[in-house]
């Protein structure tokens, strides 16, 4: 076998990639990547949106085949031909996008993959799950339908699934993006325990702190190429700040130390200004699988950023949708610049200057198959100057779209490219450009930086600050407490569909918000 194994690969590697290249129409997603993955190590993959991380994972899990290069498993070149093959090799993946069947129960999802003629072995599964959850310290509702679970819970199920299958290599693609700070902590601890048991883990994240805290080895991708690696030996000798600055250097060239630690610029909101957005006693009925809202009240003055903190699934989305008019409210009032808008439709609210930047970029934010240019104007269909007398003014649309592409630095092959082909960060830029365009008075941002890489996150945050600085009212919904602390004037905490308190973003805000989130008085 030694003749087959490569000089590059170390025999300690479970899996090694050698010169792996993958091309998609118009793009080289992975370009000659070498990577080694070892038991007992958390191998962190970092890189901007579109750097090619998920593509790499796709090849490891048998979804895609490399165009060039090879993959070695236990030192032997092994083309991973299908997901089934990957599973057989002990490679378990938690994908960036949810891979559970919503209409089946958790147990049924975990059972998927057994021999087709068999009865599902539920008892066996239950025993196995009990064993694993005990050792991992998590709990799952085996007989709940997946569609009834929160995204965080779904993510746990996916991790559990990889465990149930006795994976030797566990791949987590942006698994922390949906988790609360506490959830992230727990996942981190879990990963440490698993590698302690001898597993290998590939962990993809955009948060450098997580990389530094949970990793053993870090590889950085950029534009499909691997631009650097911090091996464990070096990793252990560096402190968190040193690791972060080294990563930043790899990703963006030389820069200041911790880009995320940017001081919150001191903005002064004029306390005497009349509130721009006033919400009083807003209520929404609960639905089968989503909480309702009860007596939500707050004001936002021009130039102010009000944050909404809280654990995912506590009604943030309902709040945003009720304000935007997408979800029927059962009571309460919403005033924009003093005028009541609660009876208006989505379109009318937008016309008055209320903007909603959704967190579901592909699901509802864009029409994936439509060109980038049209997606800029999705909420203005029929408005002049892009339509005159109902007729599309293609030149006008293209001109303005090209302008927005430049202004917001949208990386797209062309204006005609279907927007779904863009990476997450660039789709987000399209949405930002659309919502912040002329006429905005109050803007609701729902998790605006979720899934974005560092550069895009920072750029988006700056956009939001600039928005407020223009005298707009901003409602910023986020599960990332750091983000809220770095941007907001005040932070409200939502729990179970109501606002449990609002604190000014002063020195002690972190503890106060934290206390509110876990159900204590601020």
């Amino acid at each position: 076998m030694s003749s087959l194994s490569s000089p590059l690969a170390d025999k300690r590697d479970i899996v090694a990639l050698e010169g792996v290249t993958k091309r998609f129409p118009g793009i080289v997603a992975n370009d000659g990547i070498d990577l080694s993955i070892r038991p007992g190590e958390v191998h962190v993959l970092l890189g901007e949106n579109g750097a090619g991380k998920s593509t790499l994972i796709g090849m490891l899990s048998g979804l895609q085949q490399p165009d060039e290069g090879r993959i070695l498993v236990d030192g032997k070149p092994t083309p991973i031909t299908s997901p089934r093959h990957a599973l057989a090799l002990g490679i378990g993946t938690v994908f960036q996008h949810m891979m559970l069947v919503p209409t089946l129960t958790v147990a049924e999802n975990l059972l998927l993959g057994g021999p087709w003629w068999q009865r599902p072995r539920t008892e066996e599964l239950e025993a196995r799950v009990a064993e694993i959850t005990r050792s991992l310290g998590i709990s799952v509702k085996l007989h709940a339908k997946v569609s009834e679970l929160s995204l965080g819970e779904q993510q746990q199920v996916e991790i559990l699934r990889a465990m149930v299958r006795n994976s030797r290599l566990l791949i987590l693609d942006e698994s922390t993006s949906m988790l609360t700070p506490k959830g992230i902590e727990e996942l981190g601890a879990l990963m440490r325990r698993l590698v302690g048991q001898g597993l290998a883990i590939v962990f993809i994240t955009h948060k450098l702190k997580e990389a530094a805290a949970f990793g053993d080895r870090i590889s950085v991708l950029k534009l499909g190429r691997k631009v650097g690696e911090i091996p464990p030996e070096r990793f252990r000798t560096l402190g968190e700040q040193e690791i972060i600055s080294e990563i930043v250097e790899l990703m963006f060239g030389k820069q200041k130390d911790d880009p995320e630690a940017a001081e919150r610029p001191t903005r002064t909101v004029r306390a005497d200004a009349a509130p721009l957005l006033q919400v009083a006693d807003l209520a929404v009925a609960p639905t089968e699988n989503a909480p309702g809202l009860s007596s939500i009240s707050f004001d936002i003055r021009p130039g102010e950023i009000l944050g909404v903190a809280g654990i995912d699934g506590n009604g943030q989305k309902q709040l945003a949708e009720a304000l935007a008019g997408q979800r029927a409210a059962t009571g309460g009032s919403v005033r924009l610049e003093g005028a009541a808008i609660e009876a208006l439709s989505v379109g009318e609210r937008r016309q008055r200057g209320l903007r909603y930047l959704t967190d579901d970029r592909l699901g509802e934010g864009t029409v994936g198959t439509f060109p980038v240019s049209i997606n800029f104007f999705l909420k203005q269909v029929g408005a002049s100057p892009f339509w005159r007398g109902g007729v599309e003014q293609r030149a006008e649309i293209d001109r303005r779209a090209a302008q927005l592409v430049r202004e917001y630095d949208v990386r797209t092959p062309s204006l005609k490219t279907p927007v779904a082909r863009l990476s997450g960060g660039n789709i987000q830029k399209v949405l930002l450009a659309r919502e912040l365009a002329e006429g905005a008075r109050a803007v609701i941002f729902n998790k605006p930086t979720y899934g974005l890489d560092l550069a895009n996150t920072l750029a988006s945050r700056q956009r939001i600050r600039d928005t407020a600085a223009r005298g707009l009212a901003v409602l910023l919904i986020s599960t990332d407490l750091e983000e809220l602390l770095s941007m907001c004037d005040r932070i409200a905490v939502i729990a179970n569909g109501s606002l449990v308190g609002t604190v000014a973003n002063a020195d002690d805000a972190r503890t106060k918000v934290g206390r509110l989130m876990i159900g204590l008085a601020a």
Binding site: E348, L378, V381, E392, S414
Partner: protein, 365 residues
């Protein structure tokens, strides 16, 4: 179901595609249509050989009698009129993501209403006005027939494939009941409606037998194409079709648009019925159901909901059906062979589109 509404996203540069490229594109499209048809003819030719008929003679007749003889081409163009209206209606529905499979019921009701009203109206008002009224009545009745599936879909989320299929079964029966019991011509023994005199029907084009319904059909499908691709209303429908949640998010009145889509689609199907009656048939007989919808649906798909391409495919279907009938008679093949031929053509065209798509992708990679 998803429809790829971005027709061949091609250009790699920000600027518009050059004229040369579009000309090559058209040439390419033409090749990718004619090539598969040739292949289909070869396959169907083998079947002909198997039953002892000379395929060359058969195709010769198809071309001669469907396309190249003055008589043939006139018949072909006449046959196109109702098909074009149907295709136009399907384009609206399919682009908006609504699977209106109830075209045949809407068509028949439109036809019956035209046959019921036109002969009466021409006696009380100028012929041109009477025909316009008859068209309007057909359209409105067909629209009304689509209201139930539309409302169920818009406000209850009931899948429209089921409801439109059922409404088409119902509509076919209702059309028969209307012909036999309500609008029956008392002057004939055969159950059929009154007949619109030939001279009151839509005028023929110039000195031919081509109905001016063809012009109306062409106008309808071109207008639909332009509305769907160039106007705000069309874009709204396409948004609803491609991503209904995005439509809600963008503030579009999805239920209203849904009802509008059904109304337009059904209205056009009703007009198809009317143009067939007022232009060509003159009356409706009991149990008459040409079931045009079944052949037009695949044609619209193959045209990728593009109006101009749909005109081409409808033309092809007409040539095959007119020419095929003649060729079958002359060579003693049962007329059913035309169905086999159409089927093979459709399948091979679909395959060719796939191969083309694959080829384009691999070339871009």
């Amino acid at each position: 179901m998803s429809i790829d509404t971005a027709p061949g996203a091609s250009a790699n540069a920000l600027d518009a595609t050059s004229r040369v490229a579009t000309r090559r594109d058209i040439l390419h499209r033409l090749l990718m249509t004619l090539g598969p048809i040739l292949a289909a003819l070869i396959i169907a030719g083998c079947i002909l050989l198997a039953v002892g008929v000379d395929p060359l003679a058969y195709y010769g007749y198809v071309l001669e009698k469907g396309l190249f003889s003055p008589l043939g081409i006139q018949q072909t163009l006449t046959r196109m009129a109702p098909l074009l209206f149907l295709a136009a209606g399907l384009i609206v529905a399919f682009r908006a993501g609504m699977w209106n499979l109830g075209g045949d019921g809407q068509f028949l009701l439109g036809a019956v209403m035209a046959a019921a009203s036109a002969p009466v109206l021409v006696q009380v008002m100028p012929a041109w006005l009477a025909l316009i009224c008859a068209f309007l009545i057909s359209m409105v009745v067909a629209m009304a027939w689509s209201l139930l599936p539309a409302l169920l879909r818009a406000y209850q989320g009931v899948n429209e494939i089921i409801t439109t299929l059922m409404m088409t079964f119902l509509g076919t029966s209702l059309a028969n009941v209307l012909v036999k019991l309500v609008f029956r011509d008392p002057g004939t023994t055969v159950p059929q409606t009154r007949t619109l005199p030939v001279e009151d029907r839509l005028p023929r084009l110039f000195d031919t037998t081509i109905t001016s319904g063809l012009v109306l059909g062409l106008a309808a499908i071109i207008i639909v194409h332009l509305v769907m691709t160039r106007t705000a209303f069309g874009l709204k429908l396409r948004i609803v079709g491609a991503n209904p949640r995005a439509a809600v998010h963008a503030g579009l009145g999805v239920p209203g648009l849904t009802v509008a889509v059904f109304a337009i689609s059904a209205g056009l199907a009703g007009l198809a019925g009317a143009v067939d009656i007022i232009g060509v048939q003159g009356n409706v007989r009991a149990d008459w159901n040409p079931a045009y919808g079944l052949a037009v649906i695949p044609a619209v798909f193959l045209a990728r909901m593009n109006g101009f391409a749909a005109i081409g495919f409808v033309f092809l279907l007409s040539v095959l059906s007119i020419g095929g009938e003649s060729a079958a008679r002359r060579l003693g093949v049962p007329n059913h062979f035309t169905l086999v031929l159409v089927s093979i053509v459709l399948i091979v065209l679909a395959l060719a589109e796939y191969v083309d798509h694959r080829y384009n992708q691999s070339r871009k990679a």
